[in-house]
Amino acid sequence: MSKFDFPPSIQSRPVWGTLEPRTGPAHLFIADAQGAEAIIDVATPDLMVKAHIIFISRGTDYAEKLQALSPAQFYEGPSYDAALLRIKRVLSDAKMGLQLYLSGTESLMGQALNEAIQAGVPFGSIQTEHRGSTARRMQCVHCKGFTEDVETDPFVCSHCGLNLFVRDHYSRRLAAYQAVCVDAEDPGNVPESKGIYE
């Protein structure tokens, strides 16, 4: 089951939707891992004739299923960073009327949202659907480094090594949640790590 019901949280936490087909001259899908399932659910032949799918497989085997939808263009990349140059290029060439569909992890959707907004797509018109891992992209508020795929709370910053507490506070600009030192006043006194949504 790739869908997950996020528990209620503070207002800054992003809210993800469900992809729906829209009318437009071009359709750009950006997805990672199980995000492919959301594309498969929404795909119609009409949509795919004008679709460009940018898929970050992250070790999954959805690529063939996506190609079987016969999109106008299909790209498969190993990581968001690897796909980023292509995403930037596609957005810079895009015309008004482009419909944007993002699906998969929060890290993928958050970062792609950011690129799209900078390219001139209004936030409210971008469709999203969360699928797959609930791991978070976290920014250490101390060293500013990003740690991807954080599944436990607390966790260790992959840059500065501090023990970090996972917050719900989210930055749309950084496409990341904030992480704060959990043992600043009593070094070494770190609560036992558990899943973020446990």
């Binding site: 009318t23 015309k95 008004m96 797509v121």
Partner: protein, 327 residues
């Protein structure tokens, strides 16, 4: 939803002197204002409007007009008024009763039709006198080397306000379409292929505004990138009686008078900004009502309109035996 800028009744006023009246076409006159003390006007942004107070014998008329002067030049405010001989009388008053040197009052400018400065490109569609807000917007964008183009539809060369000025000054950005030559704005072709981040703006007759919104939506343009402004006079209707609870006054709203105008006529200060049903400033609570509301505003949502608890007195009316407002 944009928040109203102030919560007090009425709108802040500025005393002005009519410094110039310039005929533009057979139907349109430009009115230029300066301040009696020679001071600069408050800054405004392209698309802002002001409400002009007209003392017409025993009647006070308040009409909103777009500021069309250059936002970089605050020594003068200018509006252009199209004479509507079959209108409610405000524009005819401006054309026939106002002279250079007259003292008038106007309100502080309010902008309900501003540029989205995040836009990569601004695409303007004007119909007739709807050109006025774009003149100020163009002035503003020229200051910052903004990327814009104007598509302006007029009836004929003689009736096209500022056509000569625009085509002389910006020959590569201005496109004029003449009804008399059976020319129409090629809207679908213009919307097709615009770069991502383009914003479209339309000001003109309501049919044109609806045409631009619908065509853009059909081509996949997000709503947030299509902006419009329409100045409409409150439509007439059968006279009705209303009781103002706070000021304890009962008034009759005439056939060609808006509820807001009737309230102002008896000296009750009511809040307003746009006088066209779109800004939300005049929203008034209904104390009790027996009858049917004729909502004509773009502000209240459907639930609010059907609740019978709220009314926008600038454009909406009432048919029934009893209406009491919290004013």
């Amino acid at each position: 939803m944009s928040a109203p800028q102030k919560a007090k009744a009425g709108a802040e006023e500025i005393s002005v002197i009519v410094s110039a009246i310039v005929p533009v076409t057979e139907q349109v006159c430009r009115f230029e204002f300066t301040r009696p003390d020679g001071a600069d006007f408050p800054p405004f942004s392209g698309g802002a409007h002001t409400v002009v107070t007209m003392k017409d014998a025993d009647r006070t008329r308040l009409n909103p007009y777009s500021l069309m002067s250059d936002p970089a030049d605050l020594s003068t405010y200018a509006i252009s008024v199209r004479r509507e001989d079959n209108g409610r009388g405000g524009s005819v008053f401006m054309h026939t009763q106002v002279a250079e040197g007259d003292a008038m009052t106007i309100t502080y400018p309010v902008n309900l039709f501003s540029l989205d400065l995040r836009a990569k490109k601004h695409l303007f569609f004007a119909g007739g006198i709807g050109i006025t807000p774009f003149l100020a917007m163009i002035g503003q964008l020229e200051q910052s080397n903004g990327n814009w183009e104007l598509h302006y539809s007029v009836r004929s060369k003689a009736l096209g306000s500022y056509v000569d000025m625009l085509t002389a000054k910006y020959p590569n950005k201005v496109h004029i379409y003449y009804d008399e030559k059976k020319q129409a704005i090629p809207l679908a072709a213009l919307l097709d292929g615009q770069p991502l981040g383009t914003h479209a703006y339309v000001c003109g007759p309501s049919g044109m505004i609806g045409w631009v919104h619908d065509t853009a939506a059909g081509m996949g343009w997000p709503d947030a990138h299509v902006h419009s402004e329409e100045f409409t006079a409150p439509a007439p209707g059968a006279p009705f009686e209303v009781h103002l609870c706070k000021s304890d006054k009962t008034i009759t709203v005439g056939e060609h008078e808006s509820l807001l105008e009737a309230i102002e006529r008896v000296g009750v200060k009511a809040p307003f900004m746009c006088r066209g049903g779109s800004c939300g400033q005049c929203e008034t609570a209904v104390v009790s009502a027996t009858g049917e509301f004729v909502h004509r505003d773009h502000w209240l949502d459907e639930a609010d309109q059907s609740s019978g608890q709220k009314i926008m007195p600038c454009v909406s009316r009432f048919i029934g035996s009893n209406l009491e407002l919290d004013l």
